[in-house]
């Protein structure tokens, strides 16, 4: 792994951290419930990207599995939350 890629990995991780902070501000500020759900979904996605980039840096496939699982959990929780704010109940 060249220093070029290592530097790019550090840059990308820094960008994801910054982006997550911005999204957390939106998550806290709201104002509506759907804003918060979509911010949370984006936050899940950033965590997944971090895992993917770490899998490049550490050359370890376990991070790939983690990324896949985060993506799936993010989908399930966002869908459930969206359903909840739509009707006020998850199971109809």
């Amino acid at each position: 792994m060249s220093t070029l890629v290592t530097g790019a990995i550090t840059f990308a991780l820094g960008c994801y951290a910054l982006a997550s902070i911005l999204v957390i501000v939106r998550l806290v500020r709201g104002p509506s419930a759907q804003d918060r759900v979509s911010a949370l979904d984006l936050l899940y996605f950033h965590a997944m990207l971090v895992m993917l980039v770490l899998s490049i840096g550490h050359r370890n496939d376990v991070y790939f599995e983690a990324a896949l699982l985060i993506a799936l959990f993010g989908f399930v929780s966002s869908a459930a939350l969206a359903k909840f704010v739509l009707r006020g109940e998850v199971i109809e």
């Binding site: 509506s32 984006l42 490049i56 989908f75 969206a82």
Partner: protein, 123 residues
């Protein structure tokens, strides 16, 4: 550790930097745009190119072993993201109509389907 980075290393570094910039731009959009429907657009940047760039970078830097499984993540996102996005758009539309908010378009269906819910607070 090789002295000169190969073309795939340069390409991977470029893709990683591009994904970082895209993700930051999309988050700035999410933070700064004034209303919910406008804020629905920026995350699409991260979900599409943001994930494809990282995946391609990972595929380029893999020296041994299979790489096709990495494609599962952007493909999975392409299936799951529309589900949540459309649900959230429906949520926003439904709640705004219920709250009788000003700039909300009327239902595209014939007016036979009317809301009989009580007006609901926006938040």
């Amino acid at each position: 550790m090789n002295e000169m980075p190969g073309w795939e290393q340069i390409a991977a570094a470029g893709l990683l930097i591009a994904s970082g910039i895209l993700v930051v731009i999309s988050s700035i959009g999410v933070l700064r745009l004034p209303d919910f429907f406008r804020r629905m657009h920026p995350p699409a940047l991260a979900y599409t190119l943001g994930s494809w760039t990282v995946t391609l970078a990972a595929m380029l830097t893999t020296e041994t072993g299979p790489v096709a499984h990495l494609l599962l993540i952007p493909l999975l996102l392409a299936i799951t993201v529309p589900v949540t996005t459309v649900l959230l758009a429906r949520v926003a539309l439904f709640r705004r109509r219920a709250a009788r908010s000003g700039d909300t378009p009327p239902p595209v269906t014939a007016p036979a389907v009317t809301l009989n819910e009580q007006p609901m607070a926006e938040r």
